[in-house]
């Protein structure tokens, strides 16, 4: 199934709106993570607006696909995308990290309908996704005449830095052993973590080989290309008897030139001057669409 040019344009524009909201909400919050959320805006948009079987009006719908966010600190992108998808009013994004807000600094499942789990401490999302995948498999085997053609898909979004955690590899082993074909892992391969570049802090490469040796089907894509993102997920769904992993190469801070690839922007929010500059860049796609208005 290929996407029309029109649909791709819609998704790209939606991702841009979400990036602008990420900047606005971080400015309002006065703290939080900037680079990761901006880098993952395209993937979150693709998931919530094209891929996921979900219903924002019924967040507890049993047949929905599950999206587990393992690296909880990038939650501004999830909150912004959920708001745009209709889970709650966009206006509420301004409450991020504030007293009494449903939008906790790191996601809290019981605070906000539509979140599948609470996360923050890194490395535990893939385990939870594996648990969900096993549960879905047990349920599928109970239903008479059911087939695995249209299972509940479990998406697990992970950062690359959290692959330092041993628990991720415990879960990877389990998913390989149990042949959890209904898991689609997506790694935000942006190469940065708090103390620097991942390959300096704790080398991860050859990452594809590592997961393949654990029994996974692995794809590497450009995490800012809508067609590539959706194509990789479709390919993952066609893989029989193996969990799939999409290593999405992303640019941290994507869309704002002074944040791009700067690991100092991992864990901080923009001040008003920086936010204004960032929003101007996003509105004009870093100057690329200026001609339309000239």
């Amino acid at each position: 199934m290929s996407l029309s040019d029109e649909r791709i344009k819609f998704l790209e524009e939606k991702a841009n709106e979400i990036r602008q909201d990420i900047i606005k909400m971080l400015l309002e919050a006065g703290s939080g993570h900037s680079a990761g959320p901006l880098g993952m805006a395209d993937i979150f948009t693709a998931l919530y607006f094209e891929v996921l079987k979900h219903d924002p009006g019924r967040p507890d719908w049993e047949e929905r696909d599950r999206l587990v966010l393992s690296n909880g600190h990038i939650c501004p992108v999830q909150y912004a995308t959920m708001a745009h998808a209709g889970y709650f009013p966009v206006e509420e994004l301004k409450t991020l990290r504030k007293f009494g807000s449903r939008l906790q600094g790191h996601p809290h499942r019981t605070a906000l309908p539509g979140l599948e789990t609470s996360s923050g401490p890194l490395g535990s999302g893939l385990s939870q996704a594996a648990g969900m995948a096993i549960a879905a498999r047990i349920d599928l085997s109970k239903e008479e005449g059911s087939s695995s053609d249209n299972p509940i898909w479990i998406y697990c979004l992970m950062g690359d830095g959290e692959l330092d955690c041993g628990q991720v590899w415990e879960a990877a082993m389990l998913a390989g052993k149990e042949k959890l074909y209904n898991i689609i892992g997506i790694i935000d391969r942006n190469n940065i973590q708090i103390d620097g570049f991942t390959e300096d802090v704790m080398p991860l490469e050859p990452l594809k080989d590592k997961f393949e040796s654990f029994g996974w089907h692995v794809l590497e894509i450009d995490g800012h290309n809508m067609e590539a993102i959706i194509g990789a997920i479709n390919e993952s769904k066609a893989v029989f008897n193996k969990p799939s992993l999409v290593i999405a190469k992303t640019i941290p801070g994507k869309g704002v030139d002074f944040m791009e690839r700067e690991f100092s922007w991992h864990g901080k929010s923009p001040n008003s001057e920086e936010a204004e500059k960032a929003l101007a860049q996003l509105r004009t796609l870093q100057g690329k669409i200026k001609s339309e208005h000239e």
Binding site: M132, A135, A171
Partner: protein, 330 residues
């Protein structure tokens, strides 16, 4: 005089059946699995010694072998619970909730997941394996987490009841078991309800001088001590406080008001365990002298279970001494 029905021949240890509490876990799992198809059991390479194998043999499709990965096991269970399953995770207490504490806190308790954590081989009575395998901090680290229920059953029958009650209870539960065979001194009819302490023994004497509040297999030692103390003219009430959290404050306060002195008995560090929980309640509601039987801020060591119980001051003689000491403080 017993308020409630316990085993016949209560004071004849040699006539009582001996069984490890973990046996009750295996039996309870099988029963719970028959009652509810949502019960799923996970184990971290210890299915025989945790007795989760009994469930695996009956329901292989609902058993998942996790290998030696307790952190993964806790979070996998959270994922299963998110899909409506009722997972029991089984290992030694030292590893679960020991090694995987943060996963239990965040992915199970903060999510208010319906996961049951079964920690076997708790206490110094694990014996020859030594300190590395003797969990004596597990009650402290579980009861401090919001949403968690903590249960320490006293024998194999009560463990079976606790396992079934945990399956029906909504929310995270920690169940603690021992390795060694211990006297089966409760009966099928002995009541068990999460959060409700039971008065297991009450002296015939007119007045109660001391309340002994205990949990786990040491409740039996407390009863033996009570029998001997009664002969010496001391009126004793023994309370089986199997649920450490939520603690049955009402029963404990009422007993302390009646007796005016308390001894707590547990096979756990005094810091943070049942004794601490009881002291928290009494300090606020009815301050009175309390003595604590338990491990005194040190690690365990190798030895035979009986030897270690004596060495760590948790035998019948030590309980009697603690009672006399606290009576002098009244």
């Amino acid at each position: 005089m017993n308020n409630i029905e316990l085993a016949k021949n209560l004071f004849h240890k040699e006539k009582l059946e001996q069984a490890p509490t973990r046996n009750g876990y295996g039996e309870g799992l099988v029963r719970a699995g028959k009652d509810d198809e949502n019960i799923v059991v996970l184990c971290a390479d210890l299915s025989d010694s945790t007795r989760s194998k009994m469930f695996k043999d009956v329901f292989p499709e609902r058993f998942v072998e996790m290998g030696i990965g307790e952190q993964n096991m806790a979070s996998v269970a959270s994922g299963l619970a998110a899909m409506g399953k009722i997972p029991f995770i089984s290992s030694y207490a030292m590893f679960s909730p020991g090694r995987n504490w943060e996963q239990i806190r965040t992915t199970i308790c903060y999510n208010d997941s319906n996961v049951k954590i079964a920690g076997a081989h708790a206490g110094v009575s694990v014996g020859p394996d030594g300190a590395t395998h003797q969990a004596i901090e597990d009650v402290a680290i579980t009861r401090v987490i919001p949403n968690m229920t903590v249960i320490v059953p006293c024998d194999a029958i009560e463990t079976r009841k606790a396992t079934l009650a945990a399956a029906k209870h909504k929310g995270p539960v920690y169940l603690r078991f021992a390795r060694e065979k211990t006297p089966v001194f409760t009966a099928e009819k002995t009541p068990f309800e999460i959060g409700r302490a039971e008065i297991f023994y009450k002296s015939d004497s007119k007045k109660t001088d001391i309340s002994i509040i205990a949990c786990g297999p040491l409740v039996y030692n407390a009863i033996l001590a009570a029998g001997e103390l009664e002969k010496e003219g001391v009126g004793v009430e023994v309370i089986n406080s199997h649920t450490i959290k939520p603690l049955d404050e009402k029963t404990i306060i009422a007993s302390a008001k009646n007796s005016g002195a308390v001894v707590t008995v547990e096979e756990h560090q005094i810091i943070g365990g049942l004794g601490s929980a009881v002291a928290e309640v009494l300090a606020k509601n009815h301050p009175c002298p309390v003595e604590f039987i338990g491990v005194r801020d040190r690690f365990g060591e190798s030895g035979e279970p009986e030897e270690l119980i004596e060495k760590f001051g948790m035998g019948v003689g030590s309980i009697k001494e603690a009672v006399k000491k606290v009576l002098n403080r009244k």
